[in-house]
Amino acid sequence: MVRRDPVFRALAICLFSIGAVAMLLPVWYAAAIASMTEDGRLTLFSLPGPGLIVTIAGVLADPSVQRQLFNSLIMAVGITTAKIAVSLTAGFAIVYFRFRGRNLAFWAIFFSLMLPVEVRIVPTYAVAADPLGPLVAGLRLLGIEIGLSPSLLDTHAGLILPLIASATATFLYRQVFLSVPGELVEAARIDGAGPLRFLRDIALPLAAPATAALTVILFVYGWNQYLWPLLITTDERMATVVMGVARTLPSDNAETRWGLTMGRALVAMAPPVILVILLQRRLVAGLTDVGK
C-alpha cells in the first residue's frame, strides 16, 4: 500500500483547483463584461451579474443570430450523421467481406487520413463551385450537351459534404468490428442471417459506444468549423455562429462593443460545451480509442 502523503495530496488539490479556475477565467470575464448593460471596464474582481441574462436574451432575439445558430446546427448535425452513416457501412464492408479491390479501397480510405481540408483549400473550393464539372466535360466529349451546373456555394450541402471526406471514423468502426468475436458471425450465419441483418441486429448495437463517442467528437468538429464556411459562403444568411462571433470584431477593435461580442461568444460555444460535459465519459473513451 502506498503511504498516504498529506503534503503531496494538498499540493495536488491546490494545483488541480488552480487549473480548473484558470480554465474558467476567459469565460468568467466574458460573462462579467456581458453582464454590463452599458459600456464599462472590468476590474480583476468583476462578477457576472443578472445583466448577463438580458444580454444573452438580446443576442438570442437577434434574427441574424438565430439564422446563424440554425446554419451551425444543420452543419454540425449533417456532418455528424452523414459521416457516421458513410463510415459505418464502409468499415463494415472492409471487415466482413473479401472481394476484389478490397485492398485498393482500404488504402484509398487510409490515404485520406493524412490531409486535413486546410491544406487543399483552393482546389476544394473549385470543386465545390462546380462539382459536376468533369461529368459535364466528359459528356461534351461524347457530344452530349447538358446545361447542368449546380453549385454548392452558399448551400448547406456545400457546408457539409466536403468535410465528411476523411476516414478517421471508418477506422474506428473497423477497429470495433475487428474485435467482434468470430463465433458471433458464425452463429448469425447458422441462424440464417444475411449480412444486412447482421449489420442491423448485431454490428450496430455492438458499435453503439463508438457511435456515441463519434457523435460528440463530430458534432464539436462540425459546429466549430471556421475556414471552410468562410470560403464557401458569401451570403450573410448562410453564415455560421462561429463566423458571426469573429465578425463582430472590427479590424482595429476600437469600436468593439465587448459586452455584445462576448454575449455572442457565450451563445456560440454553449451547445458543444454542454454536449461535451454531458457525454464526457463517451468523449474520453472515443478520443483515446481513436488514438490507439
Partner: protein
C-alpha cells in the same frame, strides 16, 4: 458447414453488396478529397490566370519564388515557434494537471469535465475570448501585466501578438492533452507504484522515474497530434484576432496559403504552399503510424 470455415475472421459472401456499402465513402473521397488533391498538385506547377483559369506549365517556379520570399521564411519561422510553444507548454501543463487529478479525483472521474470542457470551444471563439482578456485597453490580464511594468500590446507588438495566439491555443489544447495523460497515468499498474514506494521513492520521484517513462508512448503520440493541431487548426485563432499581424508576426503557414490563394489570387503560389503543408502532415502521419506499429508489436 465445415470446421475450417470457423476461422478467427469469418466473412460474408457477396460481390455487389460490399461495393454498395463502400460507395458513399468512396464517392465523397473521390469528389472532395482525391480530385482536389490532384488538382492542387497540378496547380502547384502551373502559373494560372485567375480570370480565365488557363495555366502555363512553369515547373518548379512557384516553389522557387516561394522560397525566394522573405515573407515565406518569416511565415515558416512563425509557424515553428508557434507549434513548438503550443505543444511544449500545453503538454507540460496538462501532464502536471493529470498527475494532480490522479491524486484528487480517484473514483470521481466526472470532475474531469472541469479541465476538459474547452475542448468544445471553437478556435476562433477561443481567440476572441483571449483577445478580450489580453486587450491592451480592456483586458483584465493586460492590466495586470501593465501594473507589473510590462509594456504589453499585442495589437502593435509582434512578440506580444504571438504570445496571445499561443495562450489561446494552449488553453484549448490543454484539455485534449489532459484526456490522454490522465488515461495513461491511470493505467500505470499500481503494483509498480507500490514497489517504488516501498523502495522509498517519494511521490515526485515516482512520477519522474516510474510514471513518466511508462507513459512515454502517450507523450510521443500527443507531441505529433499537437504539432498537427498547431499547424492547421490554428487558422481560426489567427483569422479571428490578429489577421496575421502586426507586421506579419503571426502569419502562420496555413494562414498565408489562404491569403495568397483567396485574396492575392496567386493560385500557383498558394497551391505550392499547400503541397509543402501536405508533405509536412504526411511526414508527421507516417511517423505516427510507424510508432503505432511498434507499440502493437511490443505491447
Amino acid at each position: 458447414m465445415s470446421a475450417s470455415s470457423v476461422s478467427t475472421n469469418p466473412v460474408f459472401r457477396g460481390r455487389m453488396l460490399p461495393w454498395l456499402l463502400l460507395a458513399p465513402q468512396l464517392a465523397v473521397l473521390a469528389l472532395f478529397f482525391f480530385r482536389p488533391a490532384a488538382e492542387g498538385l497540378r496547380q502547384a506547377f502551373y502559373l494560372s490566370d485567375p480570370f480565365t483559369g488557363d495555366g502555363i506549365f512553369v515547373g518548379l517556379d512557384n516553389f522557387r519564388m516561394l522560397f525566394a520570399q522573405a515573407e515565406y521564411a518569416d511565415s515558416i519561422r512563425a509557424s515553428l515557434i508557434f507549434a513548438g510553444l503550443v505543444a511544449g507548454v500545453s503538454m507540460a501543463i496538462a501532464f502536471a494537471l493529470a498527475a494532480a487529478a490522479d491524486r484528487v479525483l480517484g473514483d470521481r472521474p466526472g470532475l474531469r469535465s472541469l479541465i476538459i470542457w474547452p475542448y468544445a470551444v471553437a478556435p476562433a471563439v477561443a481567440g476572441v475570448l483571449w483577445l478580450f482578456l489580453m486587450h491592451p485597453g480592456f483586458g483584465v490580464l493586460a492590466r495586470l501585466l501593465h501594473q507589473a511594468g510590462i509594456a504589453w500590446n499585442p495589437l502593435l507588438d509582434g512578440a506580444d501578438a504571438m504570445a496571445l495566439i499561443v495562450a489561446a491555443a494552449v488553453w484549448k489544447q490543454i484539455s485534449y492533452n489532459f484526456v490522454f495523460f490522465f488515461a495513461a497515468i491511470r493505467s500505470v499498474p499500481r503494483s509498480l507504484i507500490e514497489a517504488a514506494a516501498i523502495d522509498g521513492a517519494g511521490p515526485f520521484r515516482r512520477l519522474r522515474d516510474v510514471v513518466w517513462p511508462l507513459i512515454s508512448p502517450t507523450s510521443f503520440f500527443l507531441l505529433v497530434m499537437n504539432l498537427i493541431y498547431a499547424f492547421f487548426d490554428s487558422f481560426g485563432i489567427v483569422d479571428a484576432i490578429t489577421k496575421g499581424g502586426p507586421g506579419g508576426a503571426t502569419r502562420l503557414m496555413v494562414y498565408k496559403a489562404y491569403r495568397d490563394g483567396f485574396q492575392a489570387q496567386d493560385l500557383g503560389g498558394s497551391a505550392a504552399q499547400s503541397i509543402i503543408l501536405m508533405a509536412l502532415v504526411g511526414v508527421l502521419t507516417v511517423i505516427q503510424f510507424r510508432w503505432i506499429e511498434k507499440r502493437v508489436a511490443y505491447a
